[in-house]
């Protein structure tokens, strides 16, 4: 029986629903990537230029990202709605994305009202926390959607690179949550929301190493142990972080040389696991990746440790003097817990990736 004109869109949706869901997940993750890049740029902008209005280029980038994520979630919903036999398989991804986008959309007007009433807000404020949590959930939802699609369709080769787009926003938005809870950038004329220095010290020393190791090993596992994925992911992270936090600050420009060295441990991890991906090797790599957190989160992580260890007044052009003054002391205090957290992340990422990659029944 021939299809009527009105049946065509429905048929199209039914046939391509899974692919639409994938595009929705890609859009969601890409949108969050823009939000996180904008967020990192915004921190630098506040530190250097102290913008006096809500309407700044980093905010524009962030809210463009929110719009793209929203389109992604809408696409995901339509895709999922028209799925014939894998609705349950993709439901978890959709559910997390819907909660995340709800928080993200709510954070926009909340942030505007906050700026209007209390002027310049700090890094940790109720609207910013809402925004970052929404970002994190959307990026998790996007990652699950992309990973499941690749797994169920047994797509390898070039499609594996989509996993970088899936994991990078998780790493960046996770970094945003940890930074909010540890950097002393949150006191304003109205509120004193800076985290307590000792608490901030512990948060940074434990959570950053965990997040680096978790993100790297997650992509390693999701890509079916594909060589080069960790280097690419790490390299992109370094590129984004350096272009938003180092390059805009004239006084930090020559430290690019220092920061680019951080590619070495990522490449080493890749090569090491290529030679031998036994449990012991994974533990070694996890520990190595955890131990380098102070270098990876250059320059702003210095502010957290300066609060507890030096208490100096650090203006932006003095950042690297204080950073390098602290480097040995910080590593002395943090290297062992950092290695342990990196190793814990090995096991957590294993469980997490296994759960994501479970085949549909």
């Amino acid at each position: 029986m021939p299809l009527s004109q009105s049946d065509l869109p429905k048929k199209f949706l039914e046939i391509h629903s899974e692919r639409i869901f994938l595009f929705g997940s890609i859009f969601t993750s890409f949108g969050i990537l823009l939000v996180t890049v904008g967020g990192s740029w915004d921190i630098t902008n506040h530190l250097l230029n102290r913008p006096e209005t809500f309407f700044s280029p980093p905010h524009a980038l962030m809210y463009t990202g929110v719009a793209i994520s929203l389109i992604g979630v809408v696409l995901s919903f339509f895709g999922w709605h028209n799925l014939q036999n894998s609705k349950d398989y993709y439901f978890q991804s959709l559910k997390i994305k819907l909660i995340g986008i709800g928080l993200l959309i709510g954070a926009g007007p909340f942030d505007f009202v906050w700026h209007s009433n209390f002027g310049l807000d700090g890094l940790l404020s109720p609207p910013h926390l809402t925004l970052i949590l929404g970002m994190f959930l959307c990026s998790i939802g996007g990652m699950i959607g992309i990973s499941k699609y690749l797994k169920i369709n047994n797509l390898k080769s070039i499609f594996s690179y989509l996993l970088i787009l899936a994991v990078l926003p998780i790493w960046l938005s996770g970094s945003g949550i940890i930074s909010s809870l540890s950097l002393p950038f949150s006191n304003t004329d109205y509120f004193e929301l800076n985290p307590e220095p000792t608490f901030a010290f512990f948060v940074a020393s434990m959570a950053f190493p965990f997040l680096i190791s978790f993100s790297m090993l997650l992509i390693f596992r999701l890509s079916n142990l594909r060589f080069g994925m960790m280097s690419l992911l790490g390299g992109l992270f370094l590129l984004i972080y350096s272009s938003t936090a180092i390059v805009p600050n004239f006084a930090l420009f020559d430290s690019i040389q220092f920061y680019s060295l951080n590619l070495i441990p990522f490449v080493i991890s890749d090569i090491f696991l290529r030679i031998n991906n036994s449990k012991k090797s994974l533990i070694f790599v996890g520990g190595l990746l955890g131990s380098i957190f102070y270098m990876i989160y250059y320059p702003y992580v210095m502010y957290t440790f300066n609060e507890s260890l030096l208490g100096k007044l650090v203006s932006p052009s003095l950042i690297y003097f204080v950073y390098f003054e602290l480097i040995e002391t910080v590593l002395l205090y943090t290297v062992i817990p950092a290695i342990i957290m990196g190793i814990i992340a090995v096991f957590v990422s294993e469980k997490f990736s296994r759960k994501i990659l479970m085949k549909k029944s």
Partner: protein, 193 residues
């Protein structure tokens, strides 16, 4: 054998990475000289004497004669006034940040401490600010002032750059100290009854 060679190369690069990032490069960066911005300004007063009810113009060209700086502040204060509303009007302003109006009773930084030490303001002032300040950057502030009382009308002007690393980070370097324990140049206009 091949594995042992690869592990040795990996070990070498790990040692190289940690040596460079923890010991070698930090020492190199710490031996670099810190950037020292150096503020300077020139003031032009339109009149040295006026009649009560008339106005005069104060024009300031503020600049950075040193290195890149994070913040450049030009402060103009009025020790003979308790408020500036209706008396002082900004007519030209090209600094990157909005001007800050300080009124008596406000808590403000002191002794070039960047906010670590503070005092309570005794008289009003206007702070013009640039964030950041590039070498050789010039900015302008022009005020129209209409005194309300006869006598000597005094204006204090000073400039501070942050990071404040030495005596060169403020201008003037010596002279009269204001309520913030910071050096100022004073200018006065005789207001005839």
């Amino acid at each position: 054998m091949r594995k042992i060679l690869l592990y040795s190369i990996i070990g070498f690069f790990i040692i190289l990475y940690f040596s460079l990032t923890i010991f070698i490069l930090p020492e190199k960066y710490l031996s670099n000289e810190q950037l020292v911005p150096q503020p300077y300004f020139e003031v032009i007063l339109s009149n040295s004497e006026i009649s009560l009810g008339d106005s005069f113009q104060l024009s300031i060209v503020s600049e950075n004669r040193g290195d890149y700086g994070d913040i450049h502040i030009l402060s103009t204060s009025f020790p003979t006034l308790s408020e500036i509303e209706g008396i002082v009007e900004i007519v030209t302003y090209d600094f990157t940040q909005s001007s800050v109006h300080i009124t008596p009773g406000d808590e403000i930084g002191a002794k070039y401490s960047g906010g670590l030490e503070s005092i309570i303001a005794k008289y009003p002032s206007i702070e013009a600010m640039n964030r950041p300040i590039l070498p050789d950057a010039k900015n302008h502030l022009e005020l129209i002032i209409t005194p309300e009382k006869p006598g000597i009308f005094t204006i204090y002007v000073k400039s501070i750059d942050i990071p404040h690393t030495s005596n060169q980070s403020h201008y003037p370097y010596s002279g009269i100290l204001d309520h913030q324990d910071e050096y100022v140049l004073d200018y006065s206009v005789n207001v005839n009854p």
